[in-house]
Subunit: 117 residues, 4 copies
Amino acid sequence: MTEATQAAAAGSDSLQDLRERLRHFAAERDWNQFHGPKNLAMSVAIEAAEIMEHFQWLTPAQSLELGHAARREVAHEIADVLLYLVRLADVLDIDLLSAAHEKIALNAQKYPVPRGL
Amino acid sequence: MTEATQAAAAGSDSLQDLRERLRHFAAERDWNQFHGPKNLAMSVAIEAAEIMEHFQWLTPAQSLELGHAARREVAHEIADVLLYLVRLADVLDIDLLSAAHEKIALNAQKYPVPRGL
Amino acid sequence: MTEATQAAAAGSDSLQDLRERLRHFAAERDWNQFHGPKNLAMSVAIEAAEIMEHFQWLTPAQSLELGHAARREVAHEIADVLLYLVRLADVLDIDLLSAAHEKIALNAQKYPVPRGL
Amino acid sequence: MTEATQAAAAGSDSLQDLRERLRHFAAERDWNQFHGPKNLAMSVAIEAAEIMEHFQWLTPAQSLELGHAARREVAHEIADVLLYLVRLADVLDIDLLSAAHEKIALNAQKYPVPRGL
């Protein structure tokens, strides 16, 4: 592998690796039949709600001071959202990172940086 | 930059770039005051619901045949979930990709690949 | 109709009226084809997220001081959740009020009232 | 109490009874401190996602054929959404049924009944 290929492989990257790993994971378990966009969209929302469960009754201040165990659980819920999101983008053939950068550009237009005197 | 550093920088990657860009975006607009974990968890869930809106009344088959305009809108909703998710992981100091790979490993134990004869 | 029956009919009620009105509303528009439990469950979640949108960036204190216009919008989002919830219970032949009272009884066992000395 | 008042009281009702019971339930457990609109809006969304969990991987047809146990679980999740919704409307001083009927009237304008020849 050349340096360029290697960097490209690494850089094209991590989300691509994750996508490949999830494709393989689903295929091995014969789960593609369940992974249509409608179901995956529900999954993203369900896992998003599981993140919220951890913060539901906390004050804003408490939400910044999770204990070690809670933080690890939250990390796993956040991971679940990412996994389903990557899967959803994959079955829709959407490039997640391009879409993200495109959206930031749109948001920058929508919410211009306030300039004072 | 050595080859290793380069690959590491590239590989550590794109999600890191996104994280940095979003940090900058929030700081420029003085939005950090709003970006506590509790609020960001709500944001992830709200944007997840906006993805679902596109599939709500579609049959599973129709959800696989989005037109060009709908697909672009869905890409932006998916992007919104990713942006808030990256932000949430950032304020909680969670490494999104490590958490994702850790969760896949846990899922692999929970759902072993069925082995036939 | 006796007084007792009348009171019972009225009391069993208002949610029943709503259910009937929504049945009629859906039938007139030929929407029953869309109102399967899976779709309606998504609708409830989507409308629930729309309630949250109003509180997403507010402090807990601010969330108690909505202006007149915001309060009216929130009332309509809350109404949307109720409408889909009534519809969902209806297509599943679930008695919403009985289920609610049954659930409160279960919650009372799960969270007993703390008794001091 | 006249027959009419009685019927009206009963009819104005069942949701009112539920509201009163929940007020009492929260007060007894000293939970009012947690029941601000922001937290309750999160709760409604979290419970809505729990309804969805039951339908996530089902086909539309399967979602109509829940077994007895699943149906009972779904009934309790639906109940949970209603309980938090009633609580949320209560702390915001919103009349749930009036809001619902007002919203149906608005929806009727937005989606007129199609009239053929």
